[in-house]
Symmetry: C2
Subunit: 167 residues, 2 copies
């Protein structure tokens, strides 16, 4: 809380705190109204499968930050919904490889599109100068997300966590 407090665009001493409050507040406002047809964790798991290909149960647990039994249950329900497939790994008969289906991929992309579009419509109602300021802050927002992921997952190349809202 030392450096950029003087560097933030507001020029005031608590610009940083205010930035933090603004982002956190908006975040809060959105989360609790997200669609609930699938759990955040399910969407997050689908997202991982979609972007990085088939995975074993244990991987999904580590990536998603939940336990292996939870993933087992989650995958079973996703399978029942037709959104993923489970296949045995011929090289190691203990392993279950989970893959997203075409239906799963379709669902995911539709949901992602809807989320972004709804938010885009919100942005579209901003005054021009605010929309411009938001656009200029995009690299900062993307960078923040990277920093956040790094900080929580100091491990190697597991890839983005995927978080449900980005479904």
């Amino acid at each position: 809380m030392s450096r950029s407090a003087s560097g933030s665009g507001t020029g005031s001493a608590d610009g940083l705190t205010r930035s933090a409050g603004a982002v956190v507040g908006l975040l809060s406002s959105l989360v609790r109204h997200a669609p609930r047809d699938l759990s955040m964790t399910s969407v997050s798991t689908l997202s991982t499968l979609d972007s990085t290909g088939p995975r074993r149960i244990t991987d999904l647990a580590a990536i998603g930050g939940i336990t292996q039994p939870s993933v087992t249950a989650l995958v079973i329900s996703l399978e029942r919904a037709g959104l993923v497939e489970r296949c045995k790994d011929p090289a190691d008969k203990r392993v279950v490889l989970v893959a997203i289906t075409a239906a799963g991929s379709d669902y995911l992309h539709a949901r992602r599109r809807a989320n972004i579009e709804a938010f885009a419509q919100l942005i579209d109602r901003l005054p021009l100068d605010e929309a411009a300021a938001l656009g200029a802050a995009v690299p900062a927002l993307e960078h923040l997300r990277e920093l956040d992921d790094q900080q929580r997952d100091p491990g190697p190349s597991i890839g983005g966590v995927g978080t449900g809202l980005d479904g």
Copy 2:
């Protein structure tokens, strides 16, 4: 998706979509790692009580977007934790008025401080220009939250919903 697509700071045609994606992505990244000692709904309820004073059960249900039986259970557990008090309304003996206690208020403020500070530390690691851009986007972010609240709650003066992460 018509106007500010050309007005956003990126200058590209999909600047709006990219802004939306950036914000949604960051928010997603943060949500799933929030502290879970109290549920989002509990913190949200505490926040409402803290900012608007004692409330009846039904109010809390409407404000929080959950059912009345859920609030009854939630309030009972908050009461057991010493964070709220329940008292009868002398004017209407059916009513239970729920009020936040000093301990509840302390908890809430500590949590809010911690959240904002953690996020501020993240912002502090941004390059100066990005931190400045983020600072400049604060009014836009705050405005977005307002727009979001309005859109979902076209009703009268219920006040901010409070969403758990802003605890």
